[in-house]
């Protein structure tokens, strides 16, 4: 019979912490969230691969990308809507995903709160800026050499 005492492992987080279920919420938020993740995922697949296909495969492919190409797309209402959907859906999908990860992994309520605040601030900043860019993008800045501008500027 051999008994060996081994070096102590990290202590268990206070093993006798009492149990309490925090406030319950009875709304369909998580349900809609769950459905949204799946639906937005499918739509994003179409949007992102469509975007990649148009930018990288069609015509001259990746060599065609320059200021004129991007500027041209952003003056086209079809691509404005496309990019806007892609931006919003990706941001909401991603933010909700990270929210879930915070819920799953951040153990202390305060840490959780701050991480979520940071997440939501990032979401707002990126989404607002992105939206502004899509709608206020000046495809024909004055004084720029004409050969760099999209054809619609002339």
């Amino acid at each position: 019979m051999t008994t060996t005492n081994l070096p102590t492992q990290p202590t268990l987080p206070n093993p006798r912490d009492a149990y309490k279920r925090l406030k319950t919420t009875r709304s369909n938020f998580e349900l809609y969230g769950w459905v949204f993740m799946r639906a937005s995922g499918v739509i994003l697949l179409v949007l992102i691969f469509g975007h990649l296909f148009v930018n990288l495969m069609v015509g001259d492919g990746v060599h065609a990308i320059d200021f004129a190409f991007v500027g041209g797309k952003l003056t086209n209402p079809f691509w404005q809507v496309w990019d806007l959907m892609m931006l919003w859906l990706a941001m909401m999908h991603g933010t909700n995903g990270v929210r879930t990860i915070i819920n799953d992994y951040a153990e202390r309520p305060l840490v959780r709160l701050w991480l979520k605040i940071a997440l939501y601030v990032a979401f707002v900043v990126v989404t607002v800026l992105g939206t502004l860019v899509i709608f206020t993008f000046d495809a024909c800045p004055s004084g720029a050499p004409a050969d760099l501008l999209p054809s619609i500027c002339s």
Partner: protein, 254 residues
Amino acid sequence: MTATLETSAPAAIGEIPSFDVTIRLRRYLPESEHGEESYWEEFVVPVHGTDRVLDALHKIKWEHDGSLTFRRSCAHGVCGSDAMRINGRNRLACKTLLKDVNPDKPITVEPIKGLPVIKDLVVDMEPFFASYREIMPFLITTGNEPSGERIQSAEQRERFDDTTKCILCAACTSSCPVFWTDGQYFGPAAIVNAHRFIFDSRDEGAEQRLEILNDKEGVWRCRTTFNCTEACPRGIEVTKAIQEVKRAMITRAF
């Protein structure tokens, strides 16, 4: 032959030889000199080929260290007392044969995770049962009781057969990473038991149970890691049951 020589139990089948195993236990004895620190301790015990982890634990408790504390009762996998973490996986000690968990290396035995440890391998089961009670685990019906039995076809009975097997051992719930974080998630076991009634053709309380599990801490926290299905000593397809409950909620909402 005289009756005094009546044979007792026959020898083990298959003549599997005895061997030594090392059991590496996570001990927590708050009343001892170790105090609130948990620590590892190793025991080497001789065992038979057909012995289970529970037999090795008994051998340690009965022959070496009486203070080793764990729950056990039926010893053949139907009472659900001895769920523990064996080599990092949740199992019932009485259903895990030592020869199946690589006895050449030390076998680690720890309490199940996510529930407060009371002593050694014993955890406080109250949070687990509290979640179970919350999902209203009983038949809800309206109207007068029939004078005979309620009629249910064999197919209707089959619909929820899998989830009736649950023995509330907590192996699934305490294998769930989501449960580990803060213990707020209802957990697979509670959902399995809700499933058992939601899909019982005789029951009329599905609406209420779905409402309860629609909670922030309800089925939507399931990340389908399948830890629970893997941990279930009764072979219940736990993750599938959770998905079926989710589907029932979505069809109800739309």
